[in-house]
Symmetry: C3
Subunit: 341 residues, 3 copies
């Protein structure tokens, strides 16, 4: 399925290899030496393909699939079509992710420093670094081993970037210290001044933004997302947090580990988001708030108050999810009543 123009398959795998590699249980009597030559979605998969079922929405596609092998949870086995080999996993999507990585490992360019890059003589480049054309690297920049800087990236003076990072085309970075295995997608803006000024009718007065952006290991930041540097404290993105496209992170925001922040979210200055928080698309968090560990904020919510650990919020202004649904139900009840009157 993956277009060979863009993707290079590593090799084929037997069913036995896959089951072992993915930690899946295999039904008895299955031919472990059956060769699987690709991964595909349920709808397009054929006999030599591996697929997966994770979202109940696709149950019907599962029942009709022509896939040879499918990763599923134990509860779904009963709906499997005849002849389909089920690889049983407690987390089918995770197992599929690992399988797909094995079939299609990311291709890393060979180490090279383009002659068309502009690299300050005081900058340090780690072994194995790849620097594409028209990159600009400022004074005292320090880039780790095997990091991959795509075309047109601008890294301003004194920035530190760790090992095995990938900085997407056209991204700009200043006033930042970035860990290992971090990926910035194209067009990300890291480290510019936050929106800090004292309001004055004769002209707003800029407050110098004297903090940095700290990005910990294994963070991913989506295309055209903007992360302002701190005003004095730092702006911090915690280890393993994934941020989607077009997100705005204000100055002094501190985000914990393993968070998921969906596209077009905005987090205002000085708010603190604890570990494993999930924030749905286009939601906003006002400034100077605290969101506790594991909290879930639905898409388009407008958070105006602190949220405790594990709580689920929804709506603008955001309320606990159950309260939000009761609000909607009450409103619709009111309309029906009106119509009857």
């Amino acid at each position: 399925m993956a277009d060979p123009r863009f993707f290079v398959k590593a090799r084929n795998f037997t069913v036995g290899e896959l089951a072992e590699m993915l930690g899946c249980t295999l039904p008895k009597g299955v031919n472990k030496s059956l060769i699987i030559d690709d991964v595909r979605p349920l709808q397009n998969a054929q006999a030599s393909h591996l697929s997966f079922l994770d979202n109940i929405k696709y149950k019907e596609a599962f029942q009709k699939t022509s896939a040879g092998v499918c990763i599923v949870s134990s509860q779904m086995i009963e709906y499997a079509p005849k002849g389909l080999i089920c690889l049983v996993s407690p987390s089918p999507y995770k197992a599929y992710a690992l399988a797909a990585q094995a079939f299609y490992p990311e291709k890393h360019p060979k180490s090279n420093v383009s002659k068309l890059a502009s690299i300050d003589e005081t900058a340090k480049l780690g072994q194995g670094a790849f620097i594409a054309p028209h990159v600009v690297i400022g004074a005292n920049v320090d880039i780790g081993k095997n990091s991959w800087i795509e075309a047109g990236v601008v890294i301003q003076d004194d920035v530190i970037i760790g090992d095995n990072c990938r900085i997407g085309a056209g991204t700009t970075v200043s006033h930042a210290i970035i860990g290992d295995n971090v990926r910035l997608y194209p067009g990300v803006r890291v480290g510019q001044d936050g929106f800090g000024f004292a309001i004055d009718p004769n002209g707003h007065i800029k407050v110098p933004q004297l903090g940095r952006v700290i990005i910990e290991d294994h963070v991913e930041i989506g295309a055209n997302t903007t992360i302002d540097r701190g005003s004095g404290p730092d702006t911090i993105i915690g280890q393993g947090t994934w941020i989607d496209n077009l997100v705005q992170i204000g100055h002094n925001v501190v985000i914990g580990k393993g968070c998921i922040i969906v596209a077009q979210v905005g987090i205002s200055g000085s708010s603190k988001i604890d570990d494993f928080v999930a924030i749905g698309g286009q939601a906003g968090v006002a400034g100077h708030l605290h969101v506790g560990t594991g909290a879930q904020i639905a898409a388009q919510s407008g958070v105006m108050k602190d949220i405790g650990a594990g709580e689920e919020y929804m709506g603008s202004p955001a309320f606990p999810k159950t309260q939000f649904f009761r609000q909607i139900a009450a409103l619709n009840g009111l309309i029906k009543k009106k119509k009857r009157d």
Copy 2:
């Protein structure tokens, strides 16, 4: 009106030429050889200018205009000021668009390949292509005839771009197949990995994004908009669809023909938008949904369920438009009642 510093007028037109070119009806007895030397909005137009009335909001400006000629619908003629020549059209804005194109055709640069561009030796450039300075074009890229690649664009390996395209400054494209007459504005991000991962407290696990972005003919995509490539299926933008600035299109999204998607809209992964759908600014569509042909989604709506063909939705969460307005009315009625109690 158009500042000659930035815009070059092709030539003047007579009233007769304009009427014929635009398919407009001319009132009897009009001097067809009257020369019109520019297009202008109603407020600023003078005797030698062509204007138009399309939005009833500007009726007063129409009644006061000093324009020599104005494109209007037949219903509006009765409000015309004395001496104004009315070109009658069933679609005045469309006629105005064609007139303005005739006065001010887009100026296309002469074919040239900048010596400051970095072009892989395996890339193919069609006849008449214009490649600006600091462009980067990767291996096996195929660019069609007369396509215009502005400064600082990065086109990654294997991308295909059709004829007569214009790729705006600073835009980046990967894993994409782009048709003819497509225009990407500055800073667009096409083809980066979608937000695909299996959640894991020990570190989210990346799901390789093995699809492409397919952009059909005559599509326009606004500045700093982001379009992720598919995860296995492709992300597809249908023929003649226009997308505004800062829009987010998730992986596997399929958008039909002739849609209009206003600024800052977000469409989550795997949703399918049929032909001629209009989505207002800052609206969001959740993942794995279906929006039927010709549906209209108001600005800031939050779509959480499928929408049928031709339906109009509004609100967050989105409801049918009439229901939404009843909700608002009921809410305001409740307040008035409260105040009376």
Copy 3:
């Protein structure tokens, strides 16, 4: 506090110097020659540091601070911890801004024109201009004195930029006339065509966008913000207006002086925003509307009607703030009633 890797302190100041420079009142008997060597937030400040208290939320931090000197309003003095020297100011944040500017003045690069920039021979560069590598400057561009063009910027033909401007890395500008002391952050898109077309099932018809973008003096525009040029009239950003990241400004929008527009706001085409308006994050203003002087629009509001001078609006659709809060209260009252029934 400011990391010396990224920030260079100008010098130390005595308490007496600071009081005079900032126009603050000093309590009697204070040692005016005490040396202050840095600025810091309340939580981290030590005896040789200057801090400030502006937001009542941080009153507790104020009561516990170890700062040597703190700028406060007269009302807060009574809560000061023992030994803290209070610099009394009617606008503590403004005074702090000026102090921080004195400690850490922005470092401007020495005038230089990179050999790796592509500058058309007809372009004019003012004295003291700094042009970074991989910048592209088109024909007839006119850049004022001491303006600072960061790496990878693309300035299209005929654009005019005033004195003392700073154009952030990767930003693109076309069809624009920019005043003095303007700052565009990285990735800003100025002057591309607005979203203007006549809807047609056979293919939308482009309306040539024949206006410009006019940016007056002392404007700041945040990272990845997009400002479309006018369709005939101009798009205008008034003097001293500050715009945050990822904001969308449609064609023909006219924004007055001293406005504050927070991240991810969208202002649709042809709307007019008067002076000193504040618009909260993610709010939207529909097209062809008028927002009066000093109006305040809360975050995530959806403005669908004109707003008078000084009015405060909130909600989507937006209502006067008091009405909005009554709506929310009524809704929550309804739920409670339901639960009791």
